[in-house]
């Protein structure tokens, strides 16, 4: 990792609770997210108006399940078809290996500057830092990513990376970092960024992009975008390197339109994006533009571990729309940086533990009220709440134990407390004696009870237990009846 500039805030999933408090205390952050998420929820809802949404979600889930069921075969088919089209395919077991592959491609072309289209997997593997260490400048070209990079931050949302910043803050960043005059005019700032980045597109030796869908049947790489920076990145530089997680493959070309329909509507409530860019091959003989070399880097990075387990497998269906974030009451309040991971929000909470281990991410599966909104809006029907519960079980050592760091939250004290409760609750006379004792000693209950009393008053056991009250009530009634 490169050194952070002074004053730059870094976030870590281990510090989730502290970071959540800081975010909650920041009215600007809360206002920015609240406004954005409210708008996105309304837009998503409107955009499915004409559709049988359930049928479409069913199809989306089904396409992703089919792709996962045949994953190894499809990856081989994708590789064969890409190679036949002239696209060179590389495999990487982890992020470091993938970074090395990208760096070597850059070095083999003597490229000192790389222009990037939006790609979460390259964020996940810290590609920019890796390239900078090798003396290769990596510049983000998606406007939001560009702003976040100028501000030495990481994206706070997988679709809208700069959603945590408002116009005034962006105006200051553009002024401080690029020297343009201070303005609140969004068109003027956008035009300035266009000008700055066009130079960089022309100068870049390599363009690096992500992939939304990789089609095994035809060896086609699909990219979804509005800005045109994705098309620039994959067309202007002489070399294009596409980086993707191994789970992004789909079987057939016809699997693409349903997923595309779901993705744009779920993400931003758009019925379609400005560009749908399908890349088949490098520039062919006689063609006038486009890269002369195209590479595809297939990154595992923990995905084959998730793949082993029938329940956890569903995590890999994700098409990275971000709808679960937009609808999450926790994400909306604490924002994306609080999670301290590449993927924030509900999907991040079920994906990051596999990518980073539960040791680091132990608090993320609990960053949810289990209200169920994420599962309800997921376009490919990932049962996110169930997976959150499963990871909570793994973290206290009550799952199947096949997640790295499983059992990290297991505490002897807590375990003993539950064991004691279990014994009491199954021994009625002990239970009765215990509860009546608690009622008698209620004056001794401590006023401070850790996390509970930080925001609430301490509970006191009732002087008479419910059992005793019911008994008294029944006795009173019988007395009355006997009197009659």
């Amino acid at each position: 990792m490169s050194e952070q500039a002074p004053g730059v805030h870094t976030y870590h999933p281990r510090e989730f609770h502290r970071q959540a408090h800081e975010a909650l205390d920041n009215p600007q952050i809360r206002a920015n997210f609240r406004k954005a998420m409210d708008g996105l929820m309304a837009k998503r809802c409107d955009s499915f108006d004409d559709w049988d949404l359930e049928a479409l979600r069913e199809l989306g889930a089904n396409i992703r399940l089919r792709a996962l069921a045949r994953l190894p075969d499809l990856l081989e088919q994708l590789e064969a078809n890409c190679e036949a089209n002239g696209v060179r395919v590389h495999w990487a077991e982890d992020g470091d290996e993938a970074c090395r592959i990208v760096r070597e491609i850059c070095e083999s072309h003597g490229a000192t500057s790389v222009i990037k289209g939006k790609s979460m997997v390259t964020e996940e593997m810290h590609l920019n830092d890796h390239l900078e260490e090798a003396g290769i400048e990596a510049l983000e070209s998606d406007l939001g990513e560009y702003l976040v990079q100028l501000n030495q931050q990481t994206p706070s949302h997988i679709i809208m990376p700069a959603i945590h910043l408002n116009t005034d803050e962006i105006s200051r960043i553009m002024h401080d970092k690029t020297g343009i005059e201070r303005t609140r005019d969004v068109d003027a700032m956008t035009a300035a960024a266009r000008q700055q980045l066009r130079e960089r597109f022309m100068a870049a030796g390599v363009g690096v992009s992500g992939v939304n869908f990789a089609v095994a049947e035809t060896g086609t790489l699909c990219l979804v975008e509005n800005e045109g920076n994705g098309r620039m990145t994959t067309t202007v530089p002489p070399v294009h390197v596409a980086v993707t997680g191994i789970e992004k493959v789909v079987e057939h070309l016809r699997d693409v339109p349903p997923l595309y329909s779901l993705l744009t509507r779920s993400a931003t409530g758009q019925h379609v994006t400005t560009y749908f860019n399908m890349i088949g091959s490098p520039r062919k003989e006689g063609e006038r533009d486009g890269p002369k070399e195209v590479h595809l880097v297939l990154v595992d990075g923990g995905r084959s571990d998730i793949y082993q387990d029938d329940e956890l497998l569903d995590t890999l269906r994700c098409i990275r729309c971000g709808a679960c974030m937009n609808h999450c009451p926790v994400y909306t309040r604490v924002g994306g940086h609080t999670y301290g991971t590449t993927y924030p929000g509900p999907i991040g909470s079920i994906l990051s533990p596999h990518l980073m281990g539960l040791e680091e991410t132990r608090d993320l599966p609990t960053a949810s009220s289990l209200c169920g909104a994420c599962g309800e809006v997921c376009p490919v029907k990932i049962p996110i709440p169930d997976l959150l519960v499963r990871l909570r079980q793994e973290s206290v050592g009550e799952g199947r134990g096949n997640v790295a760091g499983a059992g990290v939250k297991r505490s002897r004290k807590e375990l003993a407390a539950w064991k004691g409760f279990q014994w009491l609750a199954t021994h009625p006379s002990a239970w009765r004696a215990g509860t009546s004792m608690a009622g008698k000693l209620r004056g001794l209950t401590p006023a401070k009870l850790g996390a509970w009393t930080r925001h609430r008053t301490a509970p006191k056991p009732a002087s008479t237990t419910l059992h005793a009250l019911v008994k008294q009530h029944q006795a009173a009634r019988t007395d009355k009846e006997e009197c009659r």
Partner: protein, 230 residues
Amino acid sequence: MSARETILKRLRERADGALSAPESDFSVMTGRGWSPQERLARFEHWIGSVHGEVIHVAEDDWTGALTTLLVDKGVRRLALGKRHPVAAEARLALADAGVALVDVDRDIEQWQREQFENVDAGLTSTRGAIAETGSLWLWPTPDEPRLMSLVPPLHIAVLDAATLEDTFFDVMERHEWADGMPTNALLISGPSKTADIEQTLAYGVHGPRELVVIVRHATAADSHDTRPEA
């Protein structure tokens, strides 16, 4: 073992056993059954909703509309192909129109800066369009390369009304895309845009600021007039 072998082996030797693949029902993606008028109305509604302009013209007079458009938009340098009938007809019509015609049958390396800085508009044909989303579909060729619809600030696309189809899925199936994909296939729905600055929509962030679609309607006596009713 190579990374490739390791990954594939891990996937094949899955701990919870082999998975079964479900069948898919694609009926939700097709069968809209729109009339040509409905199709056109939807196309125009949707592309208009994302800032795309639509001009309706009779097939045999489309270059007149093009000339007017170029004057209205102040285009002085227009990039266009040579062989495609759209480009060939435009070249004939614009010979004396006072617009410089920029040839694109050159390798980009020879004229990249010129294209980025000195071209006002790119004129392209389209293969067809999609009513459901207001999208044009293009398969760029050596005659009309990929960057023509992206780099100049104005993209003018010529569309034949008869080539409109209902859905993306329909286009893909009817034209058998899976049997042979080109170097680059594109759907274009409006000009380049972003909402990355506090959700405020701004056009022309990297690609064209404006997209104008010239829709050509057949004029032969026996043809079906697809223009929306006035």
